[in-house]
Structures are given as structure tokens and as C-alpha cells.
Symmetry: C2
């Protein structure tokens, strides 16, 4: 394990320091940005640089309140420039700056492929100049598609969150597919992830694996079942706020001791300046207040449950 330590230990320590198990998602959509970051002449490179400036400002504003951030790579990948994929230079910069100011960085890339190709993705996202603390991975390929990420994790302390139960409406059409024994696909996938994690034997000092799981807050009953199936996995919990889940829904992903999950909110925090209740505030103040409120609401809901 690397000198920087096991990501699950570092994440739990950061949660203790900031007082709340939350994560702010960075989804830069040009049409949602504060006006000063929208480049009206439409030059793509200027727009990408403005997105970068905005995202760094957001990092600075939320850092006192939250332990982690989750840049969503898709919103950078679609900012093309003339040469193609120039927006990813902004993604790499933002991940680096976030780490420098002490935030845990989850790269939301949802990569996944057969083993030899997964090695290339693991190298791209967990080593080198674009390395993040953990990356999200799609486990439809099974164990050999996850193993290369865990192999890099063993050397670096960096981690993985594998999709188990996603937060979107049509998740059910695939993930509720029900087996002979009454078990659903998401439960089967949860069991697979738990087993792959046990086989890899990559536990930190506080009992959590480098291999975590994405479990949407929009399905709290499912989260409770998955909590029992995956005792060693930290859950990354999307779906709070704009996607409709409440703080109480999110609490279902935690253990009785209040650990074991980190709840993400993206739009409701980073675009707080567009919310009517914050209309009188400067955009940075709106974002700061939304981050504070989000962190407090989740911390309270986890304490009560």
C-alpha cells in the first residue's frame, strides 16, 4: 500500500474532520453556470477555460463543508474544443486541485471492459497525472473487469466504486430482473461485489474495502438490503436533491454506527444560485450555503436513524 494510505481510511477520516459523510458532484453544464462563466462568443476553448475557473472556485467554496467531491467526467468529455476532448484537460486539472486542497476525489467515469482493456482504464484513472482517489466502474463484465482496478489499488491505496443499484428510473427494468431463488440482479451483483472484495482482501484499518459500491438513494429499501449483503463496502449514494431522494432515504445506506456511506449531491449544490430561496445571494454564497445545508441535513439524518 502506498504512503498516502488506504482510500477508505482517508475518506472516513475526512468525514470525521468535516463532520458529515457527503460529497459534492461537479457536473459542469454550460447552460446552468453563473453568467460570468458563460462565454457569449461561443469559443469552445475559452468556454472550457471558464468552466475550469468556475469548478476551481466551487471547490474552494465547498471545501470547508464537505470531505469529498465527485467530478463527473462526461460533462468534461463533451466539451470538445477543436482538437477533441480538450475538456478533459480541465477535468484533470480540477481533480489535481481538489486533491491539493485536501478533498477526497471520486472520478465518476463509470468505465468498464474486459480485463486487458480494464487495465488501460485503471492506468488512466488511478495512476499518472490524472489519478483520482477512487473511480466509479461498471461491473457488467464481472470479476475480471474489476480486478485490474483492484490490482492498481493494492499498489496505490486508491479505490473503486462498482455500480450495483443506480439511481435512475429505468434501473428497475434491468436491475430488478429476478432469479430463480427470488434474488434480484442488484442483490446478485451486490453479492458478487462483496465476494470479489473479500477475495481481494484489501481492507483498511476501519474494516472497509478498497472496493466500494454505488447504491442510489432513490431506492432506500434496496439500499437496506444491500447494506446487509455488502458489510465491507463503502456505498457511494447518488440521487439526493435534484433526483428526488430525501436525507432520510439516504440514511438507509449507513450502518448503525453512522459509517459506511457517502451521499452525493450535484445540481442542488453547485447550481444553488438558480434556486429561488437563494435568489438574493451572490452565486458563491448560494453554493456555500447549499453545501452547508446539505452536509448538516445528511449528518442529522444519519444520527437519527
Amino acid at each position: 500500500m502506498s504512503e498516502q494510505g488506504h482510500v477508505a481510511d482517508r475518506l472516513l477520516e475526512a468525514v470525521d474532520q468535516k463532520g458529515s459523510p457527503v460529497c459534492v458532484g461537479l457536473d459542469p453544464r454550460v447552460d446552468h453556470l453563473p453568467e460570468e462563466f458563460v462565454i457569449t462568443d461561443g469559443d469552445p476553448v475559452d468556454q472550457i477555460e471558464a468552466v475550469g475557473r468556475w469548478a476551481i472556485k466551487v471547490l474552494e467554496v465547498v471545501a470547508p463543508h464537505v470531505p469529498a467531491v465527485k467530478p463527473q467526467i462526461a460533462y468534461f468529455e463533451c466539451l470538445a474544443g477543436d482538437q477533441g476532448f480538450y475538456g478533459l484537460a480541465a477535468y484533470a486539472t480540477i481533480c489535481k486541485v481538489a486533491g491539493e486542497i485536501g478533498l477526497i476525489v471520486v472520478g465518476d467515469a463509470k468505465r468498464g471492459d474486459i480485463g486487458s482493456t480494464a487495465e488501460a482504464y485503471a492506468a488512466a484513472h488511478l495512476t499518472g497525472p490524472c489519478a483520482v482517489d477512487a473511480v466509479t466502474v461498471n461491473p457488467y463484465f464481472g470479476a475480471d473487469g474489476l480486478q485490474p482496478f483492484l490490482d492498481v489499488g493494492r499498489d496505490t491505496g486508491r479505490g473503486v466504486f462498482a455500480l450495483v443499484r443506480t439511481s435512475n428510473p429505468s434501473a428497475t427494468a434491468v436491475q430488478d430482473f429476478t432469479g430463480k431463488n427470488g434474488m434480484t440482479l442488484y442483490e446478485h451483483m451486490g453479492g458478487q461485489i462483496a465476494q470479489i472484495g473479500r477475495d481481494a482482501n484489501l481492507l483498511g484499518q476501519r474494516g472497509y474495502s478498497l472496493l466500494g459500491a454505488v447504491v442510489g438513494a432513490t431506492y432506500p429499501e434496496e439500499a437496506r438490503r444491500l447494506r446487509r449483503i455488502m458489510p465491507q463496502q463503502i456505498f457511494l449514494v447518488p440521487g439526493y436533491g435534484a433526483q428526488g431522494a430525501t436525507a432520510q432515504d439516504c440514511a438507509a445506506a449507513f450502518k448503525p454506527d453512522g459509517t459506511g456511506a457517502i451521499v452525493n449531491a450535484s445540481r442542488s449544490v453547485i447550481y444553488a444560485h438558480n434556486r429561488p430561496e437563494f435568489a438574493d445571494l451572490a452565486w458563491e454564497d448560494a453554493v456555500a450555503q447549499a453545501a452547508r445545508d446539505f452536509a448538516r441535513d445528511i449528518a442529522l439524518a444519519v444520527q437519527k436513524s
Copy 2:
């Protein structure tokens, strides 16, 4: 639909022109390249530029023999440069050059996310300077994660190949999960893809949808079942050559009229210079001969079956 036409029609036309339903995968691994493209001083930007030169040469060498190419984005994504993700500029260039010399380009990105984020991926890979003719997508999210790609397809004629049965060994641990009625997950997923395709109503003149499916050649029995479940989908068939499937195995993915699939080979063609039987040839000649042999073997196997 755009003036360039429906990608399934364009692909079938290109197959007729070249005389074989095959596709060459571009997986640039520095340690497999011909010596002249390995930068010994280790400068990452020089190495990326050398990879770009090699890939363009491969395109020129295989273009007379095959209708399509499949750049695997992971192998470009892991070529970082100092700034991060600089290798993707080479990916974008190669996709553009391949289109200019008349090849159909399948971007093997296996992206996938909830609907709002899938919109960003669809924009990144099917519009703008990095647009390919079709992109591979991971369907674990269900219909709302696929729809944004189909919406862009409706406007542009560009398409999608959704993973159904992957070619790797541990695919079975997830995709053979068996439902109450004896149906496996891969069959269920095939049924979902067929239905999403029918609902989208995006058929070309030859009866195939913009929504295709990835069905690995390493599981021919499964491919035969999926062929019946998804009559309107073109199958992208990985697994030939280095992954162990034979031309006969690949034939299972085709309809009796010899249409409906395109077989991919990557390592066995692009690294043919490393194969003992081609040891006496210049690397370009080895690649050309491997591409010719591959195209002929698949064409023969499909005719016979």
C-alpha cells in the same frame, strides 16, 4: 436523418463493397508496437504522436480489405501526457482520418450513465469534432441511459452498440444469472435492447436498427439464441483471434442471408508482425496479410453456415 445516411445501411454497403463483414480493432499498446514507433527516451507526448502515426499507417494498410475499424478508447485514454488525457487527441484524429478514407468507425468507449449524464456522453461521441459512426454503450442503467444516444442517432444517422453478451471469461458470473422463467440475464438484456430498438423505430432501408448489440464470439450458443431474440440488431462480435473464438464460432451471430453482424479482430491483425508465421515480413505487410486472411476466413465461414 442526416444526409450521410443511416449507419446500418452504410455499414452493410461497406461490407458488400469490401466483401467481408469484419472490423479491425485499434488497441495501441506501446509494448506491442513495431520498434520504430517505440520512443526510447520515454517522452509521453512524443510517444503519443508515434502511436498516432502508427495507427494512421494501420488504417491505410487495412482499408482495402475491411469495411470498418474499432478504435478502443481506453488505450488512448491511458496515454496521459503531462496535462492529462492527451492521448485522446490522437484518438480523435484517428477517428477522423478513418472516416476520411471511407472506413466506418465504431468508437469502443462502453460509456453509460443515467439519462442526463448519458446526454453528455452522446454529445461527446456522436456529435462535434470527435463524432464516430457508432459508439459502444453499457446498458446496465436500462432504457433511459440509452435513449440520449438514440436521440442523437435520430438526428445524425449515427448508432449505438449496446453490450449484451461480452467475450470475457467472467461474463458468465453476471450475465448467466438466471431468472424465474429460466431466462438468463443476457437473454433478458437482449429482449430489452430489441424492445428499445422497436420503440425507437429507427430502422434503415435494410431492416436493421441504429441500436445494435455487442455479442461475443466466444459464446456461440448464446449468440444463436440472441440472434433470434434481436432480429433488428446488427451484432458487433468481439473475441475472434487472440481471445480464442474461431471463424465458425463467429458465424453463429449472422442470419441465414449472411447479414446482421460484423466480426472484430484486434491483436491478431494489428500486431501480426509479432506472429511467428509473419516473421519474415515488414510489419505493414504482416498487418495487410493478416487483415486479408481475417476478412477471407470470416467471409467463407459466413457463406458456409
